[in-house]
Amino acid sequence: MEHYNMNLTLKVWRQKNADAQGKFETYPVSGISSEMSFLEMFDVLNERLINEGKEPIAFDHDCREGICGACSMHINGRAHGPWAGTTTCQLHMRAFKDGDTLTVEPWRAGSFPVVKDLTVDRGAFDRIIEAGGYVSVNTGNAQDANNILIPKDDADAAFAAAACIGCGACVAACKNSSAMLFVSAKVSQLALLPQGQPEKKSRALNMIAQMDKEGFGSCTNTGACEAECPKEISLTNIARLNREYISAGMTYEK
């Protein structure tokens, strides 16, 4: 693959803290290599800002290999930028060309308040998991692993749902800021497996209740979440969640 260098104009959301008023700042950046990752381009810009005595841009990032779910940039109106099935940290600069203008924002959702610049608070996701995203099994209680037979197709489908990295792109992409794809991924994983059966009703009801309490919007089936999900979690999980939720609502007795 041919490498090339480019000059770009960045428009980046700057916000001092949760209470401050934010605004876009414009930064020209030059000599960016097509081999860099998107975050490495930000490293270059931040290094320059520090050398100029300015404050660098705060953004969440950690593993930089697309699995921790920390990175969370909205790039030119798309969660994690233009590449399908890709986190911001795995997006590389060969996605862009010389002279491009890139607008970079934090996730926009009331339930993910801005901490600073491009960093947001996604604590709501942890609280949704607390509401039921688990199998209630204490350490030491388990039977031999091969006593539970699970058809390969079910295991594969559960894994596909469990691949969710909890980044929040689904919420950011949704016009309603709905967290249904996130919730459905966990509910589906456990609903597809025998281990998840005993609690499947309370899980669906409680996780949805917590999701509503956190202020996430409703799902109107536009599919934006699936289109932007870096792990390509399927929309069919939402259908499964709806099924689980409705059937639990009709049959669950507390």
Partner: protein, 657 residues
């Protein structure tokens, strides 16, 4: 004197006996006992969940915005367990033996045996939690092979095993948070240990959002804060992975074990330029189906597809016919370096070798064609079917490779090169995982205990979860049973005030330097010194130079680092600065340790100590010990030795031929 507290009795009875005789804390007393856990990766999250379930009051801390993002999440290939589900001759003893041998006879036998004993329980526990491991069509669990073994004992979930195991532990942890047994402190960084009357009694933590320092009491403190590979700047670790918690403990009297034992992983995506911020691993599992080769001709610039079969050197298969491409990591890394140094490297940098899947894609393709009863399938059909098989096994890794390099690994061989991946060294702990500070424990990669001088693939996940789920719940009780009369200390105790004051003054000092160079500037320089002189090959002269250079760099850091912004706000540059300051001290100790150890063993390769064939030459007469270093002040470290005794695994020259 170091007391490793290894129970008496035969190796296979020690843990059983320990569990039968250790002291217990009754449920009512557990409710009054507070436990602090720093780090929420596999070791920390599993410990927090298990101790919460037992009824202890747990406070867990992580610097990430959620415990689910700890770097265990990035582990790819798998987790070992001696289940012998494949009927291929595996057993607890074999897993134990492979691990001690793989560690080049520098691990403690008793710990490793315990690890092998509980390995099966881990798989049971994870499956019960709903971890979706790979399965066969009959519904049973699937296994594959990893380096340094001749059985299939590795359980996996595609190339995302760490993610699935961590999310299992995380969900167990969040369940305890909901039940009120665990309080979670996200975006908090531990900056000091509070020691009162010789016992760890709490921590000072910084709320990373507000910058406020907080005091937290615990009857015991557990560090599960991971490894220190980021001392090299470029590594496969996450950007935030750091040694700070472990280093603060070292400064408070916990000895640091075997700091020079670093694992250089053979299969990573090569460095592409100066801008590079981290390196990406390509799982060892790929060596099940990928064959490693370089051209037989030096400086061969032909495309790999233009190099005929008989002009390729499959050097691992040539040098190590018994294990072939699945030799342990230290051996594979050195062999790659040897070929590249000799001028056989490939790619534009010549610092890379090929990892080629074509052979096995065709093998799988023929099997699939046969299953489908296709007569005379074309080469293209076979390749297509084979690609599907490979995609199912390693799809996410191939996608990651393609995104980073812009090349399609289904069509052209991957280019790979060794990179820093894991640190076997860490806080010295006894059999109970307690450091030399009473009441202070270290779990998972943060301790030194189980991998000797080289860790085998798929053993880190096993150790993290063994420590958290199955070891600490017993050993911590044995200590806390003697603490049931201890009331929670006031947070205004002079030791808390003093510790907070020291942390504050370090932060103030750093903020007030207002120098001219960024934190990354110093980190990159340190990384280069470490990689060049304390990396894959080390020698006396280089290590001595490195020590001098690191001391000078550290002095420059404290004169000239520039940290923008304020200490009383969310300030990622300040976080980085604190971590790099600690790396600048640890890096020196790593070189001191490497200089002291005038033998080669596992990942520690002293050029002065090699066999005629270039293999690592151990010196058991002089170095069959754990180096435990005591911090005595700036650049002052005192060596304590824990002699290693081998009863079941008699040390021999490690051979994978």
């Amino acid at each position: 004197m170091l007391n490793s507290k290894i129970p008496a009795g035969s190796l296979d009875k020690k843990w059983e006996d320990y569990k039968g005789h250790c002291k217990l804390v009754n449920p009512a007393n557990k409710r009054n006992m507070e436990v602090i856990i720093v780090g929420t990766g596999l070791a920390g999250a599993s410990a927090a969940a298990s101790l919460g379930e037992l009824g202890y009051k747990v406070k867990a801390f992580c610097f990430q915005d959620s415990p689910r993002r700890a770097h265990s999440i990035a582990a790819q290939g798998g987790i070992n367990a001696a289940k012998n589900y494949q009927n291929d001759g595996d057993s607890v003893f074999r897993l134990f033996y492979d691990t001690v041998k793989g560690g080049d006879y520098r691990a403690r036998e008793a710990n490793v045996h315990r690890l092998a004993e509980v390995s099966g329980n881990i798989i049971d526990q994870c499956v019960a939690q709903g971890v979706p491991f790979a399965r066969e069509y009959g519904g049973l669990l699937s296994n594959r092979s990893f380096g340094g073994t001749q059985v299939q004992r590795t359980f996996y979930a595609a190339g995302q095993t760490g993610q699935q195991l961590l999310l299992g532990a995380y969900s167990a942890l969040e369940r305890q948070v909901a039940l009120g047994n665990v309080t979670m402190y996200n975006r908090h960084e531990m900056l000091d240990i509070v020691v009162i009357d010789g016992k760890a009694r709490g921590i000072i933590a910084r709320d990373l959002i507000t910058g406020k320092l907080e005091r937290h009491f615990g009857h015991a403190v557990l560090l599960a804060s991971g490894g220190y590979g980021n001392v090299f700047y470029l590594s496969t670790n996450a950007m935030g992975s750091n040694v700070t918690a472990a280093w603060k403990a070292t400064r408070k009297g916990a000895f640091f074990g075997n700091p020079c034992y670093t694992q250089i992983h053979p299969t990573c995506i090569p460095v592409s330029g100066d801008h590079q911020s981290k390196l990406t691993l390509m799982s060892e599992s790929l060596r099940n189906d990928g064959r490693i080769w370089v051209p037989k001709k030096q400086n061969d610039t032909r495309k790999p597809s233009d190099i005929p079969e008989d002009e390729r050197d499959y050097y691992l298969e040539r040098r190590y016919p018994a294990f072939g491409n699945l030799v342990p990591r230290d051996v594979a890394s050195r062999a790659a370096k040897e070929r590249c140094d000799a001028g056989y490297g490939v790619g534009s940098s010549k610092q890379a070798v090929y990892l080629d899947f074509a052979f096995n894609m065709d093998r799988y393709g023929r099997i699939e064609a046969s299953k489908r009863q296709l007569s005379n399938p074309s080469a293209d059909e076979i390749r297509k079917l084979g690609k599907e098989v490979v995609a199912e096994k390693y799809g996410n890794l191939f996608d990651m490779y393609a995104k980073i390099t812009g090349e399609n690994p289904y069509e052209v061989p991957m280019r790979i090169y060794p990179a820093v991946h894991y640190t076997m060294g860490g806080l010295w702990v006894d059999y109970e995982l307690m450091t030399t500070v009473t009441g202070l424990y270290a779990l998972g990669e943060a301790n030194f205990s189980d991998h000797g001088a080289n860790r085998l693939g798929a053993s880190a996940l096993m150790q993290g979860l063994a420590d958290g789920y199955f070891v600490i719940p017993y050993t911590l009780g044995n200590y806390l049973a003697g603490e049931i009369g201890t009331k929670a200390f006031s947070l205004d105790h002079p030791a808390f005030i003093e510790a907070e004051k020291n942390v504050q003054s370090t932060i103030d000092k750093m903020m007030n330097i207002k120098g001219t160079k960024s934190v990354d500037h110093f980190h990159k320089k340190l990384g280069k010194i470490m990689w060049d002189k304390c990396g894959m090959a080390r020698n006396e002269q280089g290590l001595k130079e490195a020590i001098t250079e690191i001391q000078a760099l550290r002095a420059e850091f404290w004169k000239d680092v520039r940290i923008p912004g304020d200490a009383n706000e969310f300030n990622p540059e300040l976080e980085k600065a604190g971590r790099v300051a600690d790396f600048l001290e640890l890096g020196e100790l790593m070189c001191v340790d490497a200089l002291n150890r005038r033998e080669s063993c596992g990942g520690h390769f002293r050029e002065e100590s090699q066999t005629d064939e270039g293999e690592a030459q151990r010196d058991d007469a002089n170095f069959a010990y754990v180096s435990a270093w005591e911090y005595k002040g700036d650049s002052q470290f005192e060596l304590h030795k824990e002699a290693l005794e081998f009863v079941e695994c008699k040390p021999t020259q490690r051979s994978y031929k």
